[in-house]
């Protein structure tokens, strides 16, 4: 079968904020860049980010990048790599000013400067009073950023392959990555996109869990492609549950709602966060607040007929603040719950939100793997940025407002590294004859005719399994059973068929391949969680309730082959400043 082939300097898979920030940097440097996305770029999930992006601009209160760095290291429960965190926090103000120059409609202060609001886990002076660090465009910051980045890419004439589904990476015998095979969803035609460098920017995998804040497209495609290419995934046991999803439904209510002065109440009408975090209260780190809510509900102090949620109270803020600063969540709550949050508290419960783990990279976005017991080395030709990557700046728990920052800083950093690389490497590596064979087999597998379980049914079974076996609180028995169930689901998926064999916009085939990606990332998540016998950040083991720095201050690496777990040290040493050694973490 002959396949169309296109050739670019750089291929970017994914058109969310990370992919588009990288694309813009590359296009402006006159590199030939192709962006492949399974949805039109502005449909990417960055669009749903609400509260804002962290940068120590000090527009509202005194601030500096070093305090931001401290908060991020502490928020990560000391699992974050401090060189990458220093790099990100130093780069943050510039990254935000650049966005402003790109046209992002940030909300403004009376001074005319960018509006900033309080967010969880932020402090002044290394753990002192609340900082005000999160730069916002009302509560639609992700939308504003994603659209502006797409718009600037239009201006820069970036080449887009909209609604192309990336099937698999392409590499040569020496392990050099040479692009990817993608499928034009509208026509069903495969295409080989050859590139000197490939950047994965495919986002997170929130669809692992039944109740989540994520879009249906967040199926971990890039992570699974990396796994299949023999690259391990790092720290996948750390999955963030956002404290305030709409109870039972999952839609996100931004942390900015608490940043603007909202707070949580239990069934007794008690402001219970005062017990869990006496200083930061409702603005403690997300892992802390989520555990507190889950504990209140487990101990019978929930709200509602089933006592299965708590309330987020905003009505004391006044209608003007709610309408001006939180218009998007007001609309959403009115649409989905038929209540006005300016008058009635919102029922909320922790909801699967963000993948801290991902494809291991260094702070230049280069994918890195350990080489035969030795130090890790970059994988030639392959980069990853954003939620699909693990730099690791979020460690065991991400701070609110640091995800938009991550995609901007490392999207840009990866692009800059690629640009330097392209100067040295003028020609494409020869492409082996059979380079696209694995991807083609993966596509052909879903053309088989037969009768089996439905993809939709298996996807629900997987999400229920992960919710029941890999949720906020975990223990060995529950996790082991979860791992067995995921492995069984993986076998059942191998025997599944689809009925739809049309070539035209075949969403059944896309969903089948997405489920393959979900199952592999689920296996990485539950296996890494089973192996880590301590509690750190978002990973709470009831059977190992304490953090154990002596044995577990290290990153997990999960490989698909034999479900092997490996570990590597945390990079404790920052670039220029003193290291923040692990301390007991209280808020």
């Amino acid at each position: 079968m002959t396949m169309e082939k296109r050739s670019f300097d750089t291929l970017i898979v994914g058109a969310g904020g990370g992919g588009l920030r990288a694309a813009l940097q590359l296009s402006q440097a006159d590199a030939r860049v192709a962006v492949v996305s399974k949805v039109f770029p502005t449909r990417s999930h960055t669009v749903a980010a609400q509260g804002g992006v962290n940068a120590a601009l000090a527009n509202v209160s005194p601030d500096n990048w070093h305090w931001h760095m401290f908060d991020t290291v502490k928020g990560s429960d000391y699992l974050g790599d401090q060189d990458a965190i220093e790099y990100m926090c130093r780069a943050a103000p510039r990254a935000v000013y650049e966005l402003e120059h790109f046209g992002v409609p940030f909300s403004r202060l009376d001074s005319g400067k960018i509006y900033q609001r309080a967010f969880g886990g932020q402090s002044r002076n290394f753990g002192g009073e609340q900082a005000v660090r999160t730069c916002a465009a009302a509560d639609r910051t992700g939308h504003a950023i994603l659209h502006s980045l797409y718009q600037q890419n239009i201006r820069a004439r970036t080449h887009f392959f909209d609604e192309y589904f990336a099937v698999d990476l392409v590499q040569n015998q020496q392990g050099y990555f040479l692009g990817a095979v993608a499928m034009d969803i509208a026509s069903g035609e495969p295409i080989l996109i050859e590139a000197k460098t490939t950047i994965l920017a495919t986002g997170g995998v929130g669809q692992l869990f039944r109740t989540n804040t994520n879009a249906l497209v967040n199926t971990g495609d890039g992570m699974a492609m990396a796994l299949r290419a023999g690259i391990p995934l790092q720290d996948m046991e750390f999955f963030q549950f956002h404290p305030t999803g709409i109870a039972g439904k999952g839609m996100l209510i931004t942390e900015g709602a608490r940043g603007e002065g909202g707070y949580l109440l239990n069934g007794d009408g008690e402001r219970f966060m005062e017990r869990y975090a006496p200083n930061a209260r409702d603005l403690a780190s997300r892992d802390v607040v989520s555990r507190a809510i889950a504990t209140e509900v487990r101990e019978g102090r929930g709200v509602g007929p089933n006592g299965d949620h708590v309330l987020l109270k905003l009505d004391h803020l006044g209608s003007d603040i709610v309408k001006k600063r939180l218009p998007g969540i007001r609309d959403m709550v009115m649409t989905f719950l038929h209540i006005d949050p300016a008058e009635t508290p919102i029922p909320v419960y922790p909801t699967a939100h963000y993948t801290m783990g991902g494809i291991p990279t260094n702070r230049h976005g280069q994918v890195v793997v350990p080489v035969q017991q030795g130090a890790e080395e970059p994988v030639p030709g392959l980069y990853a940025v954003g939620e699909c990557a693990c730099v690791s700046v979020h460690g065991a728990n991400r701070l609110g407002g640091n995800s938009l920052l991550d995609i901007l800083v490392f999207g840009r950093a990866a692009a800059n590294h690629v640009i330097r690389h392209l100067k040295e490497q003028r020609y494409h590596q020869p492409l082996p004859e059979d380079a696209s064979e694995p991807a083609m087999q993966r596509l052909a597998r879903w053309n088989r005719e037969g009768k089996g379980e439905s993809i939709a049914g298996l996807r629900i079974a997987l999400a229920k399994t992960m919710e029941e076996h890999c949720g906020v609180f975990r223990n060995q028995d529950v996790l082991r059973e979860g791992q067995e169930k995921v492995l069984a689901l993986r076998e059942r998926l191998a025997e599944a068929y689809i009925d739809d064999h049309s070539q035209v916009f075949n969403t059944a085939r896309i969903e089948a391949m997405e489920l393959e990606n979900l199952v592999d990332t689920a296996l990485a998540t539950v296996s890494s969680a089973l192996a880590r016998e301590e509690s750190r950040g978002a990973h709470s083991r009831i059977d190992f309730p304490e953090r154990d720095d002596q044995h577990w201050l290290k990153h997990s690496l999960f490989s698909l082959e034999d479900l092997k777990m490996d570990y590597k040290p945390v990079r404790i040493k920052p670039l220029t400043v003193e290291s923040f050694p692990p301390k007991k973490r209280t808020y």
Binding site: V39, F40, T42, R43, S44, H45, V47, A48, L57, V96, Y97, E98, E100, H101, F102, G103, P105, F106, S107, R108, L109, D110, S111, G112, K113, A137, R140, H143, A144, H147, S148, Q151, Q152, I154, R155, A186, A215, L216, V217, M251, G328, M332, F336, L337, H338, S454, I455, A456, G457, I498, D499, D500, S502, Q503, V504, F505, N506, T507, A508, E511
Partner: protein, 233 residues
């Protein structure tokens, strides 16, 4: 609950047809949105094709014609709809398959509106200043999600999708004209001259009627026309 849904797969069907579906009442929950129902129908018939992603009205994927009116399936309550619910693709654009339309003409017109900030001054090392009042001018404009509900409800766009920019693109044209940081007013107005690009709008206001984000493209178009008139005096 009964549905009648437009079906067409060029790989299999000689021509489009309407297919009846029934969703068992037992599967219907209070507060359910149309998209939830479509996902349940698709779980049973995986050939039914439509776009969807965020499920909360911010990504703009699932615009469709619902009982004769354009809207987003994910924020349209089932309870608000007359039964049987008749669902067709957005009108006026070529159908790829079922409820999936080819949006290229719509995106082309968006690009034609130069939807990006133009300011050729050297970038300051901090943000450009903008007062809260100047920033307020962008409210009701920047929130567009490019779902195409408005442009595909506009008779002027149906007739001239290649020449008339349509309400969504013109809303973005005004979004940048209204931005105190943008310097390309002349260039933008020149770009909208002629009988078609802007002036095909006959203030029918279907766009305002259907916008799922409650935006008002007609008002934005009016503001551009005012600027045009002011400039010609």
């Amino acid at each position: 609950m009964k549905f009648s849904i437009y079906r067409y797969d060029p790989d299999r069907d000689a021509k489009p047809y309407m297919q009846d579906y029934e969703l068992p009442e037992a599967q219907i929950q209070p507060g359910m949105m149309l998209l939830d129902a479509l996902l349940l129908l698709k779980a049973d018939d995986e050939t039914l094709s439509f776009r969807r992603s965020c499920q909360e009205g911010v990504c703009g994927s699932d615009g469709m014609n619902i009982n004769g009116r354009n809207g987003l399936a994910c924020v349209t309550p089932l309870a608000s709809l007359n039964k049987p619910v008749e669902i067709r693709p957005l009108p006026g654009l070529p159908v790829i398959r079922d409820l999936v339309v080819d949006m290229e003409q719509f995106y082309q017109q968006y690009r034609n509106a130069k939807p990006y900030l133009i300011n050729d001054d050297p970038c300051p090392e901090v943000e450009r200043l903008q007062t809260p009042e100047q920033r307020d001018q962008l409210d009701g404009l920047y929130e567009c999600i490019l779902c195409a509900c408005c442009s595909t409800a506009c008779p002027s766009f149906w007739w001239n999708p290649d020449k008339f920019l349509g309400p969504a693109a013109l809303l973005q044209a005004w979004r940048f004209l209204a931005d105190s940081r943008d310097q390309a007013t002349e260039e933008r107005l020149n770009n909208l001259e002629g009988p078609f690009r802007l002036f095909r709008c006959h203030t029918i206001m279907n766009c305002v009627e259907v916008c799922p984000k409650n935006l008002n493209p007609t008002r934005a178009i009016g503001r551009i026309k005012e600027l045009m008139v002011k400039r010609s005096l």
